[in-house]
């Protein structure tokens, strides 16, 4: 009986794992090989050993992009998770027109990057400054996207606006696993509101919290679309994310080899971050 279970699991795992290795791991290894060359993306190339990796650590532009990306990711992750959780609770509570609200809040996620870019550019360039000067806020009277110190805030807003939908969906499906009777039992003990959430609901949706954290890290550390739509790395190269550099200089530019090295290092960094995160929330799960 035990063996049967084991065999079944192996028979499931191995073919799917093989597929994954074939179309993810093998191309990745090929990519890693390019990171030791000065390949431009076409034509012939030379082996350069670790030159790309050494360059990487002395490249101020790459360093700056790491700082920017992490700043963006941390702020957006917190913002998105707080709002998404609130939204999920609200959408899951007893409200009128539930389907309508759920549909409406999903919309930001499906508007294409061109549309989002145009509308938010317009909003930040014309509408927000006009409104701000009308009510007399000096600091907002010029576009926040044109100032190297504040452009990242604009990107956080758009990233959050788009990402909240997805995180909310995951929280909502998490809330479905919380049985009604938990609340009923809690209600008898007098746990309501924040207390109910803190002690009854939240512990039960921790797995979804950690999923959302990992997905946030993935989406925000690898942010690309929103940058292309809003600032294209500007002003004054203040919003160049790591993925932006990898794509723009590696794919469109002639730095394929160098940016492959960047991608390899970035991959390792991001895996470390998320493994640490999963370990952390895994411990939390055990505690509760």
């Amino acid at each position: 009986m035990k063996n049967e279970r084991k065999r079944t699991f192996l028979l499931i795992t191995i073919p799917i794992l093989a597929l994954f290795i074939c179309f993810n791991t093998i191309p990745l290894i090929r990519g890693v090989i390019y990171s030791f060359t000065n390949f431009k993306g076409f034509g012939n190339y030379d082996w350069v050993g670790f030159r790309n990796y050494i360059d990487l650590f002395s490249d101020a532009r790459v360093g700056k992009s790491y700082l920017f990306t992490f700043k963006l990711a941390i702020v957006s992750t917190i913002l998105v998770n707080v709002v998404a959780l609130l939204l999920a609770l609200a959408l899951n509570s007893k409200i009128r027109a539930k389907s309508f609200f759920r549909g409406a809040y999903f919309l930001p996620n499906i508007l294409g990057a061109l549309v989002v870019g145009y509308i938010f550019n317009y909003f930040f360039t014309y509408i927000l400054p006009a409104v701000a000067s009308m009510i007399g806020i000096k600091s907002l009277s010029s576009s926040i996207l044109s100032n190297p110190d504040s452009a990242w805030i604009g990107i956080v807003i758009v990233c959050a606006w788009q990402a909240i939908a997805m995180n909310t969906i995951i929280y909502i499906s998490g809330l479905q696993t919380v049985p009604e009777d938990v609340y009923e039992a809690g209600g008898l003990d007098g746990a309501t509101g924040w207390k109910q959430f803190r002690h009854l609901t939240f512990p039960l949706i921790i797995p979804f919290f950690s999923i959302n954290m990992v997905l946030c890290v993935k989406n925000f550390l690898m942010v690309f679309d929103q940058i292309m739509a809003l600032t294209k790395g500007g002003p004054a190269q203040s919003t160049e994310s790591i993925s932006y550099l990898i794509y723009n200089n590696g794919m469109s530019g002639g730095q394929f080899g160098f940016q492959s090295a960047n991608a390899v290092v970035f991959f390792i960094v991001i895996v470390c971050v998320s493994v640490a995160q999963m370990k952390f929330s895994g411990k939390k799960e055990e505690q509760l």
């Binding site: 028979l11 360059d55 010029s142």
Partner: protein
């Protein structure tokens, strides 16, 4: 049981894969020679569709297929890595062309007779783009674009403003326009690439056309060659909108179309976008003066679209026949009409009225290529320019330019220096 199921699933997958693979290499029994063109200007797609139709209607032996995809560079690179080369590629004369020549992707077309009809100015520009001089020619220049200053003709006529011919006149004109409460320039510096337009337009007059090559040979530095250019660029800023970094290319086009500014320093390629907003706008252009030497002016013009035959092309004769067709006067004229382009071919062509102010330069063959056609895109000179315009620090900008140049062009510089060692300076 589930083991079997898995096996069947695997088998089915394999079969499907195999079937699809087979499908890939069927049909080619046709006797016709197929010529495939991939060209990188999607805005000209309609023109190329008509060309394709007309060509196929008149040629029985050759089947022409032209695609004008968006993001053609990614598509081309993808196909190159698959070793699936189109017969002809239509690209611009920029650093990508230089790389493609260097990579041996393109075939030598110096035997092609059509080359003799091309304006020698553009052939020289093409030659200069080669990283190290070669014996062959690798591109047939088709059309060029020109960058300078677009101006609102009606506004100029109304106020009696004259086209400036020297830097001093330019500054005086700007003051005059500003004095009348009109914005002299509109800038869309939020889109970094637009920062390059005034830069290129002034650079052709203020710096040697082969500045980058001189630097590669170690003969000079950008700090030296670009100093005046950078300082003059800064002087233009007060004549633009308050916060030019808030507006993108599209905003600038719309603003200029709505008459919010008298001039817009950008290339002729912007006119369709401007006219889409305001079809009645009367636009003309002039060559940007950058020094006080009236005769030192030269038109900033480069190869916007040229055709290269790939080294992989099986039937060069057929490819040349296609090129002949494309270069036929009536077809080229159609392209010029549709895109406000400048022909690279010599002959009697009717140019758009928006190029009136540049006509004398074009006819005299007085043109110089864009400096940015030599900049590697990954160095992001456009973004560096934007930073410079924000921070207004000439020295910091130029010294970064110099150090970054060495870094991003390391392999090219080594190649150039090796070439110099081998060949000496015989070409100079």
């Amino acid at each position: 049981m589930k083991g079997k199921r898995m096996k069947y699933l695997g088998l089915a997958l394999c079969c499907m894969t195999a079937a699809l693979a087979m499908q890939g290499c069927g049909n080619s029994a046709d006797q016709k020679v197929e010529i495939e063109i991939v060209q990188y200007k999607p805005e000209a797609a309609i023109y190329f569709e008509t060309v394709e139709e007309e060509f196929n209607a008149t040629h029985d032996d050759i089947q022409l297929k032209i695609s004008s995809p968006n993001d053609a560079m990614t598509i081309l690179r993808t196909r190159f890595i698959r070793e699936d080369y189109p017969d002809i590629i239509g690209i611009g004369g920029d650093i990508n062309y230089s790389y493609f020549v260097d990579a041996g992707i393109l075939a030598d077309v110096s035997e092609y007779k059509g080359l003799q009809t091309i304006n020698p100015g553009y052939l020289d520009i093409a030659e200069a783009l080669e990283l190290v001089p070669t014996d062959g020619s690798y591109i047939v220049p088709y059309v060029a674009n020109a960058a300078g200053v677009l101006y609102n003709r009606d506004l100029f006529a109304e106020h009696g403003w004259q086209i400036p011919e020297t830097w001093q006149e330019m500054v005086t004109l700007c003051e005059e326009i500003k004095g009348e409460g009109i914005l002299p320039f509109y800038f869309g510096f939020k889109d970094t690439w637009t920062c390059l337009a005034p830069w290129n337009a002034m650079a052709v007059e203020l710096s040697p056309s082969d500045t980058t090559k001189q630097v590669n040979r170690g003969e000079t530095s950008f700090t030296k060659e670009y100093k005046e250019l950078s300082e003059k660029y800064l002087q233009l800023l007060p004549y633009g909108p308050d916060d030019p970094f808030a507006y993108g290319y599209n905003d600038a086009c719309t603003a200029f179309a709505r008459g919010e500014a008298a001039m817009y320093p950008i290339g002729s390629y912007a006119t369709p976008q401007i006219l889409s907003v305001n079809p009645d706008l009367n636009i003309d252009s002039f060559v940007m003066p950058a020094s006080d030497d009236k005769d030192g002016r030269t038109l900033n013009s480069g190869i916007d679209l040229g055709f290269c035959v790939t080294a992989d092309c099986k039937n060069k004769e057929a490819a040349y026949e296609v090129l002949d067709f494309l270069l036929a006067d009536e077809n080229l004229q159609k392209y010029i009409d549709a895109q406000n382009a400048v022909p690279c071919k010599t002959g009697d062509f009717k140019l758009s009225s928006m190029l009136d102010g540049m006509l004398s330069f074009i006819e005299a063959g007085n043109m110089t290529d864009y400096q940015d056609h030599y900049y590697p895109s990954e160095m992001a000179v456009d973004a560096q320019l934007q930073t410079f315009l924000l921070q207004k620090d000439v020295n910091a900008f130029l010294s970064k330019f110099d150090t970054d140049w060495q870094r991003y062009n390391r392999d090219i510089i080594r190649m150039v220096q090796e070439y110099e060692k081998e060949h000496g300076n015989e070409k100079e």
